[in-house]
């Protein structure tokens, strides 16, 4: 997994410290801590993982091991409008792959990447529980159902 070099500000470190404290700096709470930290920062760059490891008094390797194990955690920042294509089975049999191909084509990025302007990022996820609307695409909080490749352009237009 590639990562981006960043420098954390004092206030960011304080914020991570705060979150760890709210879980009593308990190593067993690592996953809960990471959820909270990712909600705050949007992603989990190496520098943030260092701070978490330090606060919970565990090795950076252990934190890294957990971050990379779970697909929900990401070390790359998401776009301002993160696009998630459901590739669960119901969506797959109703043509999710063609929809995904169209997004890739329209945005000229691969899965897991962001557009150079940081506006969109593209990801896949498995079943959002709206299989009745398959294929399903989420852009941020908004869910689009029954998406066909020719609707992709229209969806993207909403974010111009």
């Amino acid at each position: 997994m590639s990562s981006i070099k960043i420098k954390l500000k004092e206030k960011d470190i304080a914020q991570i410290d705060e979150i760890c404290k709210s879980f009593n700096n308990e190593p067993g709470e690592l996953i809960n801590v990471l959820h909270k930290v990712q909600t705050t920062f949007g992603y989990l760059p190496a520098e943030v993982q260092d701070v978490v490891a330090n606060k919970l008094n565990m090795s950076v390797a252990k934190v890294y091991g957990v971050v990379t194990f779970y697909s929900f955690f990401t070390m790359i920042p998401k776009g301002r409008f993160p696009i998630s294509i459901c590739t669960g089975t119901a969506c797959y049999v109703r043509g999710a792959e063609k929809v995904l191909d169209e997004f890739k084509k329209q945005l000229s990025i691969k899965v897991g990447e962001s557009t150079p302007d940081g506006k969109f990022s593209l990801n896949c996820l498995r079943c959002v529980g709206a299989c009745g609307l398959a294929p399903v695409v989420q852009v941020g909080e908004k869910t689009y159902g029954r998406v066909s490749p020719d609707l992709v352009k229209d969806i993207l237009k909403n974010y111009e």
């Binding site: 996953i31 194990f69 697909s71 590739t87 119901a90 498995r126 959002v128 869910t143």
Partner: protein, 598 residues
């Protein structure tokens, strides 16, 4: 003067309907009621999923049970002015029976609901999941009261054992027996864990129960705690389920406030409380030992059993892990008795099972049927048959661990053992229907893709073996497969099944083996004839021009992105197969049906 609420408008607040603006429907209905000064006579209630997601968003009017489908926020006014005020049903929003084209007002008479028996889903779509009083009004927490005041832990375990309830999370282990084993494990601390990881892609049973009736899970966990001797419960839920998490949090708070969780529950001296733990998107964490490691804050890697969690689980203490749907059956069994439950279903599988019906089927949604119902009844009667009048080809059950069943299996009764005998499994309840346009080799590849991504990598048969299976399938779909590949595929599958450490690896080759068993012809046509009869595998498709139909209009040639179509105006055109990238543009552009895929 306090007026009586005479009418309830139930609006589905499940994830599917939410995505179709059901929250705005709710707001519009409330607004319209207010405009007409009816807010004291009719009340809008947001409920959990009604199950009939295909026709969502759904609005149901109580007491007359009118079932409105595909409602839009703009319909709110008509519903209020016509139905609430004048008592006239809004015909155009009623469900149309696909057979006789008549409107059906009451859901009881709809094919989708007729064969269903709702035990686990009994409150979904009836109550406001964010209001404990509505749960209480439907006998909520009565079973807990009964167990705490009238029974010993052994009595409670006996009822569950006698009911014949088996785990709904996939394994089908007898629930009462699991409770008994955990009860007998001696320790100063024990845990009750609810497995709400629901990793099968394309399944949403557990999520709908949690979103539509969260208290039932809390009540059942408390009962389990009493039975096994635990005072702590944990719900391991996927972070991808924000709505279910929100409703669980609300429910836990409400239950604590009412003294239904916490210390000295209902004044009986029994203590029990529940916390949430979040998954982070790893399928293998649904496996109980992996789940426990994940709850402990580590990588969710499975470990060898024994020791089973019932002996050595969370933090090394005896832990009873049950699935959401399993728990949802507990309070009704306690309330109505084990004989009542055991009378539903078949000799070896009691009660009902919830299935998430999806794929190429008319009525996508959540259904609950007695064990022993046939696949044909589920797909054709409840599910309304195949979409767009296409031909049924296969139904996949059991998710990535299951297999594809065909026409010849349609009349077997659905049970744990019959599905395994047919080469698939019950799994957690995902049921994906496929039609003639689905390529079974690609479907097998799809599942392997999933497994390769989700294998935790701890043991090599699963980590490396599945990757190899995927590669071979890839070769076959590209038209480069050989007969030798097919035998390799089979042999390797068996090795992976026999030597993997956990259930993921032990079942991951099932989609391959079952498609090879049931769709051998299709594998042969990919390998020998280099053809994909469903037209899915791009590398095996060829776009050709039919000379009799081509009038030489040049439309195809002008639009081909790689300029591989040649031909003079008014002459028959020709596609150069070596350059064609199979984009399909020419087929789309030709107005004379002169381009075919072979």
């Amino acid at each position: 003067m306090a007026q009586q609420i005479k009418m309830h408008l139930l609006v589905c607040g499940g994830t599917g309907c939410r995505a179709s603006e059901s929250d705005q429907i709710q707001a519009s209905l409330e607004h319209e009621l207010k405009v007409h000064g009816l807010e004291n006579e009719a009340k809008v209630v947001t409920t959990g999923c009604f199950g009939f997601c295909e026709k969502g968003p759904i609005v149901k009017v109580i007491p007359d049970n009118t079932f409105y489908v595909q409602v839009k926020p703009g319909d709110a006014r008509e519903i209020v002015e016509e139905h609430v005020i004048k008592g006239r049903k809004v015909e155009r929003l009623l469900y149309t029976d696909p057979e006789n084209k008549e409107h059906v007002a009451d859901s009881k008479h709809m094919g989708f609901y007729r064969k269903q028996i709702r035990i686990a889903l009994r409150n979904c779509g009836f109550i406001d999941p964010e209001n404990v009083d509505e749960y209480l009004a439907r006998d909520g927490y009565q079973a807990l009261g009964k167990v705490l005041s009238e029974m010993t832990p052994e009595d409670a375990i006996k009822i569950i054992k006698d009911s014949g309830l088996r785990g709904r999370g996939g394994g089908g282990f007898p629930t009462g027996l699991k409770w008994e084993i955990t009860r007998k494990s001696v320790a100063e601390k024990k845990y009750v864990v609810c497995n709400a990881d629901e990793g099968d892609p394309g399944a949403f049973m557990d999520r709908s129960i949690l979103e539509g009736d969260p208290h039932v899970v809390l009540e059942a966990m408390a009962i389990c705690g009493f039975a096994i001797g635990a005072d702590a419960g944990l719900i391991y839920i996927r972070a991808e389920y924000p709505l279910a998490i929100k409703r669980l949090k609300i429910a836990i708070d409400q239950a604590r406030n009412y003294g239904l969780l916490g210390n000295d529950i209902l004044g009986t001296g029994f203590n029990f409380d529940i916390e949430l733990r979040y998954g982070a998107g790893a399928f293998v964490c649904g496996e109980e030992t992996a789940l426990i490691h994940s709850m402990e804050g580590s990588r969710g890697e499975p470990t060898f059993k024994p020791p089973f969690p019932s002996v050595e689980g969370y933090l090394g203490k005896p832990t009873n892990v049950n699935n959401v749907e399993t728990f949802a059956n507990i309070p009704p069994i306690i309330n109505k008795g084990s004989e009542w439950f055991a009378a539903i279903g078949t000799a070896r599988a009691k009660g009902t099972k919830v299935f998430a019906l999806a794929g190429k089927i008319n009525n996508v949604g959540l259904i609950e049927v007695p064990m022993g119902t046939t696949l044909r009844e589920v797909i054709f009667e409840i599910g309304g048959g195949i979409k767009d009048g296409k031909k049924f080809k296969a139904v996949q059950t059991g998710g990535p661990s299951g297999g594809c069943l065909t026409e010849k299996h349609l009349d077997i009764p659905i049970e744990y053992d019959t599905l395994i005998a047919a080469g698939s499994m019950m799994g957690s309840g995902g049921m994906i229907v496929m039609d003639e346009d689905d390529c079974m080799v690609s479907v097998a590849k799809y599942y392997l893709d999933f497994t390769v991504e989700e294998s935790c990598g701890k043991c090599s048969p699963c980590r490396i073996g599945n990757k190899r299976l995927h590669e071979i399938l890839e070769t076959i779909t590209k038209g480069q497969g050989t007969m030798e590949d097919l035998s390799k595929l089979k042999n390797l599958s068996h090795v992976i099944k026999d030597t993997s450490l956990c259930g993921l690896g032990q079942t991951s080759p099932n989609p391959v083996l079952s498609t090879m068993e049931n769709f051998w012809d299709e594998y042969i046509s990919h390998v020998v004839d280099k053809k994909c009869t469903s037209g899915v595998c791009k590398s095996l498709m060829r776009y050709v021009i039919i000379p009799e139909n081509c009038i030489g209009c040049m439309a195809c040639a002008r639009n081909c992105p790689v300029n591989c179509i040649t031909g003079e105006r008014k002459q028959v055109h020709f596609i150069d197969q070596d350059t064609c990238i199979k984009c399909g543009t020419c087929l789309e552009k030709c107005k004379f049906n002169a381009i075919a895929i072979i």
